[in-house]
């Protein structure tokens, strides 16, 4: 009887476990397996084990380091932007603002839209002659128009702006949740001690938000690092001249345009290891911080 009831939770979990094995563990292991073979257009059915050859190729080519640099810039600019804008707006919304619900709804909207629609709309808005962004720059701000989609530098800035717009609502919602859980007494006590707003923000708000923000930043980093859609759609597949790729969009291109499946699989293993290392590092640090606190 006891044994039966012990196995009961596993029975309930079983369908989920089977599905997880099928859709997560199997593809992941298959990807690892593929990374050590030479599956490509010319070896699609008759691929063989080639050991570390794909990894050697990847690490020997300068393209890997360029893409890695781009990915790091892409991720850090986006995450810093998301957190700064998100926390700022959350603090404002948490204060005495009229029409709070209205503003909150408006500010969450970018999150509610399907990502690819936002990305394609932004691509349209970045057009040199007819796009909204340049029209505003020209007619209202009297600034020279920016070649958003044809200059390699600006073509990388354009997806970053798009993703900043897409990503801040998530951080804002997380920070808002965190803010409401900070006890009001802390601020009252600080007021009695004569603390300034900045001091209150630095000494109370920021430390109290950290426990909710750190997992969100961790998630956000992984999502952003692996975000194929925004870069791909805003830059129309890496245009101009494949200069806007980050690691993951490059992998997509190599796999599905050139059919270099094993090479792309090895590339994704490298990205996986990079992200795993990052996550372990962050978790260690936060654990250390929690201990010392």
């Amino acid at each position: 009887m006891l044994r039966a009831s012990r196995s009961f939770p596993y029975k309930l979990l079983l369908p989920a476990i089977v599905v997880m094995l099928a859709v997560v563990l199997f593809p992941l292991s298959y990807n690892f397996w593929l990374a050590f073979r030479n599956m490509s257009l010319y070896h699609f059915r008759n691929h063989q084990f080639v050991g570390l050859e794909n990894f050697r190729l990847i690490l020997a080519e300068p393209v890997f380091y360029q893409m890695l640099g781009k990915s790091l810039i892409w991720t850090s600019v986006n995450i810093i932007g998301h957190v700064t804008i998100g926390v700022l707006l959350a603090v404002l919304l948490n204060g005495p603002v009229k029409g709070k619900t209205f503003f909150r709804t408006i500010l969450i909207l970018p999150w509610a839209m399907p990502q690819y629609i936002s990305a394609l709309t932004w691509r349209g808005m970045f057009n040199y002659e007819y796009g909204a962004v340049n029209l505003i720059l020209k007619q209202w701000l009297h600034l020279p128009p920016v070649p958003w989609l044809s200059d390699p530098f600006w073509a990388f800035v354009a997806p970053i702006i798009t993703n900043l717009w897409l990503g801040f609502p998530f951080m804002m919602v997380v920070a808002l949740g965190g803010l409401t859980s900070i006890p009001g007494e802390l601020y009252e006590a600080a007021d009695l001690d004569g603390a300034s707003s900045w001091q209150k923000f630095r000494e109370i708000t920021v430390p109290s938000l950290m426990p909710v923000l750190i997992p969100a930043i961790l998630l956000g980093t992984i999502w952003t690092f692996n975000n194929t859609l925004v870069v791909w759609l805003v830059s129309n597949g890496g245009q101009p001249a494949d200069s806007t790729h980050i690691l993951v969009t490059y992998i997509y291109k190599v796999a599905f345009t050139y059919s270099r499946y094993s090479y792309a699989a090895a590339f994704s293993v490298v990205v996986f290891i990079l992200l795993l290392g990052f996550v372990i590092q962050v978790m260690r640090q936060t654990a250390a911080q929690e201990k010392s606190a």
Binding site: S7, Y10, L41, E129, P147, P240, Y258, S259, R260, Y263
Partner: protein
């Protein structure tokens, strides 16, 4: 007892999953026959396809045809994944160059062996592509050739020489209107100029030939039109060119047969002419290609009769002539090609002339890589950040390297 029931549960769940995944490939055995076609078609083309499918289904009550539209890139990618995994649709329809990678990957059947003897006799020879000694697609149209498309209200007589073209375009460029617009970010649009200056994308061993004088000339000529002559919008891609033309704000553009019917629908007094003679005196020579139906390598023998019959019908003279004039596409069937409705239509007649002056696009897998490696250089030259000579050198090096990587 409990471990046994747990084991039973595992077996049941796994077999349910297997059953679910297995279902996809087993539909043919029971009940009415269902043929699935994945295709890349423009909206107008799809309308005609739907009509033809309806006619076929009416004549064959036991057969249903389900079609799933994709864009070119997605079609190939999705099909590669599905067919590589032993599933996918029975039929795939798309541009002829997709047979390069798909035949190399052994995902489509060689049709000269799979279809009845003499099946291809009724097709115009220019519509068929042989690769590795086999035919891989049954075309329902020929063409895909770029031509000079002009607004007759603004350009009564199409320019025939480079000087005439430039003069016409200059007089028509004013206050937000342009004399000329063109998709300068896609190498397919560079090809007529490359060929016109005497070059080609590869030699007969499929080795890229991009770092050549004709390539430098073609890039320099287009860069001059776009950046120095002031006759084109600053960012000129497919969408921009098409929108401007439909709004009457671009007098001339370069585009293929798939687009023409939508311009007429937009109320443009449409004219189509071969691309003007370039400064060296030779006309721009577009690439030509067909679009057609290929058969999934996973199709079982029992299904082949129905699949063959469906393809036969969709490529028949009757099906190809339906809406052919309003669509503006040239048929691949000999009888349809000679039909009075095709021969007497001014647009289709001009189109035939453009097609005859074109050069067949290679369907080998290397072509994909060549397109992709031409694109960056073309875009850099067009935005003024690279010299034609450097771009040509980079294209060639990248193409050679990528082809080596692909064969690795």
């Amino acid at each position: 007892m409990t471990s046994r029931s747990l084991a039973r549960l595992v077996v049941v769940t796994l077999s349910a999953l297997l059953l679910l995944t297995g279902c996809a490939g087993k539909k043919e055995s029971a009940g009415p026959k269902k043929i699935v076609i994945w295709m890349q078609m423009d909206p107008e083309e799809r309308t005609r396809f739907t009509k033809n499918v309806a006619a076929y289904e009416k004549a064959h009550p036991g057969v249903t045809i389900e079609s799933v539209p994709y864009d070119t890139e997605n079609l190939r990618q999705q099909y590669q994944t599905a067919a590589g995994g032993g599933a996918g649709p029975q039929i795939i329809f798309g541009p002829s160059d997709q047979v390069g990678p798909l035949s190399q990957l052994e995902l489509i059947k060689p049709l000269d062996a799979a279809l009845p003897k003499g099946f291809f006799d009724r097709f115009v020879p220019q519509s068929l592509d042989t690769l590795n000694g086999h035919l891989w697609a049954a075309p329902d149209q020929v063409g895909n050739h770029l031509m000079l498309v002009y607004n007759k209200k603004l350009v009564p007589v199409p320019p025939r020489t480079a000087a005439e073209f430039l003069a016409t375009a200059k007089t028509l460029t004013h206050d937000g209107s342009y004399g000329f617009a063109m998709n300068v970010s896609e190498p397919y649009w560079l090809a007529p100029f490359l060929t016109g200056f005497g070059g080609w994308v590869m030699d007969d061993k499929s080795i890229p030939t991009l770092d050549t004088q004709p390539m430098r000339d073609a890039l320099a000529y287009l860069a001059d039109l776009k950046n120095a002559q002031g006759i084109m919008p600053k960012e000129s891609d497919y969408q921009i060119a098409e929108t401007l033309f439909k709004e009457g704000k671009a007098a001339m553009i370069i585009n293929g047969p798939w687009s023409w019917s939508s311009y007429r629908k937009a109320g443009i007094d449409l004219g189509v002419a071969p691309i003007w003679a370039l400064p060296n005196g030779n006309p721009g020579r577009p690439m030509t290609a067909s679009k057609g139906y290929s058969i999934n390598v996973n199709v079982k023998d029992a299904e082949m009769a129905t699949v063959t019959d469906v393809i036969s019908y969709l490529t028949s003279a009757e099906a190809e002539l339906l809406d052919a004039v309003s669509l503006g596409v040239l048929p691949s069937d000999k009888r349809a090609w000679m039909d009075a409705s095709i021969q007497n239509d001014p647009i289709l007649k001009a189109s035939q002339a453009g097609f005859d002056g074109g050069k067949r696009m290679p369907v080998v897998p290397e072509m994909r890589v060549i397109w992709d490696t031409m694109r960056p250089g073309l875009q850099k030259v067009m935005n003024g950040s690279q010299k034609p000579a450097d771009a040509a050198k980079e294209m060639q090096a990248a193409a050679v390297q990528q082809i080596a990587g692909m064969k690795h």
